[in-house]
């Protein structure tokens, strides 16, 4: 009886202490602001001709934001409200989407591809609505305005691959002969611009520049034309499907593996291996601005892998998933920087003042944020709207994309100083 009374008293005391301690304990962690969110527009080409990339990109963006909201408590206690819209890789839809983002009070927006950003960048720049593009082209932010690149662009890919080729692969004398196979959009134009700016300086001869569409079914004609020019190296700036077709055609014509083939980061993904076949694309070099192997020992992989395995197992080992997961981490950091500087009330309005704050304190306040080792740290430098500035050379080996260099910093090319740029 006495024990029972003691037990009741102890229980009451414990409950009272717990009641008192709860607010104190909750104040120690990030304070949750229920119902107060930070809106960000996320545009992905989930359907249409780039869907093989758009789906994992969308999955990763949303998975990472779920992780940030559920496990990290959002950004300074404010949940990120992601408004995800499919661009269909089409201009009219991308334009409609950006208007939806501004209407809904988004603080900034992201696109996956340089092409999507190309469709809307003029609207964003004229409105002062900040944008972040994952896979970018020089034309997206030269001259620098309100659009920022998460990683180095397709021009940087060409520069990095060419430097690697000259230093490590080319054994001949004189200038190696390079043929460019370019997608007929900013993805291809990025490599074309870089080659035009730096080919002479680096010491390569561009013997052919041929374009293809994202819907191409065969590039036999183009490759036959190139074959007569005896190229030493073929560089493909395209998406996985056309790149896989070109490599298959090159094998059929007996050109590959005699010539070296390099691809840009839009193509150097699991989809290239899946579509082309591991034996066909074996030995192909490619540039990528994030880690490509999920076995790498960097801190960001564990959580990314956990979420991908749990929510989207088919995306595991996909490089695009890494890029978009990293993009969402960068989104959170931009929001955090802006929140720290101006507070929630300024951002809550989602108006021009909020956009200015996001750009000034968020984008331009990035000072070497470590994205869990998934990509190079993001840092803003005046006049350079590329936030990540390093990339790595990879090679397809036995069906797996393997990094063969460390992080290489891509130098800033001031495209806007060339008379021909943009004309």
């Amino acid at each position: 009886m006495k024990n029972k009374k003691l037990l009741i008293i102890n229980t009451i005391i414990c409950l009272a202490l717990l009641t008192i301690a709860m607010p104190v304990l909750s104040a120690c962690g990030p304070q949750e602001h229920t119902g107060q969110t930070l809106k960000v527009g996320i545009m992905t080409p989930t359907t249409g001709p780039a869907a093989e990339k758009g789906v994992p990109l969308r999955d990763a963006n949303m998975d990472c934001i779920q992780y940030i909201n559920d496990e990290l408590g959002g950004v300074n206690g404010y949940k990120i409200e992601a408004i995800n819209l499919d661009s269909q890789y089409k201009a009219d839809q991308a334009v409609a989407n950006i208007k939806k983002f501004t209407d809904d009070g988004c603080l900034f927006f992201t696109t996956s591809s340089s092409t999507e950003m190309g469709y809307v960048q003029e609207i964003a720049n004229r409105e002062g609505f900040p944008g972040l593009v994952a896979y970018s082209s020089p034309s997206n932010y030269h001259p620098p305005q309100h659009v920022y690149g998460q990683m180095p662009d397709y021009g940087d890919d060409w520069t990095a691959f060419t430097q690697y080729y000259l230093n490590n692969i080319w054994k001949g004398t004189g200038k190696p002969k390079m043929a460019l196979m370019l997608l007929n959009n900013p993805t291809g134009a990025g490599a074309k611009n870089a080659a035009r700016a730096l080919a002479d300086q680096l010491g390569v001869e561009i013997i052919a520049t041929l374009e293809h569409a994202s819907t191409t079914l065969s590039e036999m004609d183009a490759l036959t034309q190139i074959k007569t020019l005896n190229p030493d190296v073929i560089y493909i700036s395209s998406t996985p499907k056309p790149a896989a077709i070109i490599i298959k055609n090159a094998v059929d014509l007996g050109m590959y593996p005699k010539v070296t083939i390099g691809v840009c980061h839009a193509a150097m993904t699991k989809a290239l291996v899946d579509l082309g076949g591991a034996d066909v694309v074996n030995g192909v070099y490619g540039v990528f601005p994030t880690i490509v192997s999920w076995d790498e020992n960097v801190p960001g992989v564990a959580k990314m892998s956990e979420y991908a395995t749990k929510l989207h197992p088919k995306d595991v080992n996909n490089g695009d998933y890494v890029a978009a997961w990293a993009q969402s981490l960068v989104i959170a950091e931009i929001l955090k920087k802006a929140l720290d500087a101006v507070g929630y009330d300024v951002l809550a309005k989602g108006d021009k003042a909020a956009w200015e704050a996001i750009e000034k304190y968020g984008f331009q306040g990035l000072d070497g944020y470590d994205v869990g080792g998934l990509q190079s740290p993001v840092k803003y430098a005046a006049g350079d709207n590329r936030l990540g500035k390093s990339l790595r050379i990879n090679q397809v080996k036995d069906g797996k994309i393997t990094a063969i260099t460390g992080w290489v910093e891509a130098p800033l090319i001031k495209y806007e100083t060339f008379d021909w740029f943009g004309k």
């Binding site: 989930t46 359907t47 789906v55 969308r58 999955d59 995800n84 819209l85 499919d86 269909q88 089409k90 201009a91 009219d92 839809q93 334009v95 409609a96 989407n97 208007k99 939806k100 501004t102 209407d103 092409t115 190309g118 469709y119 960048q121 003029e122 609207i123 004229r126 034309s139 370019l182 007929n184 959009n185 900013p186 291809g188 134009a189 074309k192 611009n193 374009e211 929510l311 989207h312 088919k314 995306d315 943009g422 004309k423």
Partner: protein, 350 residues
């Protein structure tokens, strides 16, 4: 034209009038009031969608003149829109010419390019003509991609449209600009079909040999149809350019050309109302799927496989078009005509 009950024609002018009763005029005025006050109720996003609908209606009206009235199948309409868009962009950006010069030139240049690619229509028709217009689509896009003046793959930026001191720099102003051109285009298209030219088009469409025997100059009228159809496309292209501010050849894809054909079929070939209904239906369906239905499916049915909801959008879109073609092959305009006929007689339907 069927007349409302109790209405008779006493002279030719009355016979030719489009709006002949007080009810017609009242409904027209009400409709115009609703259309021109739409910005009061809609957000920028929906205004943007309406602007897209407006420009697409102009392009579809042109295609309808060519395909619906004159029977000349064209599957390269997006290419002709591109000609207009780039003409306007080059003139206003590179040569700093006024917008009005840009838009009128856009229509004329697109019309002239249409005549060039319409020349085969003198000798071929049907699927054979369709193939030549597909060639037009690809040739035009190739030229755009490889011509320095157009900005190539990188595209070209386009200044705001401006007339006098009025700059059309937001969705609201652009809405009124586009609607002005839509009204002009509808008025022109509606009246064209009732002129000698329009009747010649219809005669060629129904039987070009018989038309020729009756004295219709088929060469002249077929090329005229190409010019007018592509002129409309050029005007639409110019408006598109000045509302998206940037142009890239990928904005004018072959699939868009097919979609334009789909729009006028769903709306109703050979009617002025058809393209308006078809375009509105398709564009709103696209937006509802992407902005409302797919996100709702994804959020509501969380157990669906990843990507299933977004994959449904093109399937639903295709299914709706197929169902329309099966259940109402004469288009929405025919359904509207049936509805009008029914309510005019109601409640005495016999």
């Amino acid at each position: 034209m069927s007349l409302p009950c109790g209405i008779r024609n006493y002279n030719y002018a009355q016979d030719m009038a489009i709006f002949r009763t007080k009810t017609h005029w009242t409904l027209l005025v009400c409709f115009l009031i609703v259309v021109f006050t739409v910005p009061l109720y809609f957000s920028n996003y929906w205004l943007g969608v309406l602007n897209l609908i407006g420009t697409t209606i102009i392009a579809a009206l042109g295609l309808n003149i060519l395909v619906g009235y004159c029977g000349q199948l064209s599957i390269g309409h997006a290419g002709f829109i591109a000609v207009g868009a780039y003409t306007s962009a080059i003139l206003t950006n590179r040569f700093e010419m006024p917008f009005l010069v840009g838009i009128i030139s856009a229509g004329i240049v697109a019309g002239l390019v249409g005549i060039i690619f319409g020349l085969p229509s003198v000798r071929v028709k049907g699927f054979y003509l369709a193939i030549t217009t597909i060639a037009a689509q690809y040739i035009i896009i190739w030229v755009i991609n490889h011509w320095d003046l157009t900005g190539g793959f990188q595209g070209i930026s386009v200044p705001y449209a401006s007339i006098g001191g009025l700059v059309f720099d937001n969705d609201l102003k652009q809405f009124y600009l586009i609607m002005f051109f839509v009204v002009l285009a509808v008025f022109f298209a509606k009246n064209l079909s009732r002129t000698k030219v329009g009747r010649a088009f219809i005669a060629i469409r129904d039987n070009d040999l018989a038309a020729e025997v009756m004295g219709v100059n088929t060469l002249y009228y077929k090329l005229l149809a190409f010019f007018i159809g592509c002129f409309f496309a050029g005007i639409a292209g110019s408006l598109m350019a000045h509302t998206t501010y940037t142009l890239n050849a990928e904005q004018f894809s072959f699939t868009d050309s097919i979609l334009y054909i789909g729009m006028i079929i769903i709306g109703g070939l050979g009617t002025t109302l058809g393209p308006i209904l078809g375009v509105t239906f398709i564009r709103i369906l696209q937006q509802l799927l992407i902005v409302t239905i797919v996100p709702w499916l994804g959020n509501t049915f969380t157990s669906l496989p990843a990507g299933f909801a977004s994959g449904l959008a093109p399937m639903i879109f295709g299914l709706v078009i197929v169902l329309f073609l099966i259940l109402e092959p004469r288009g929405l305009a025919h359904r509207w005509a049936l509805f009008k006929a029914a309510y005019r007689l109601w409640p005495f339907s016999y």
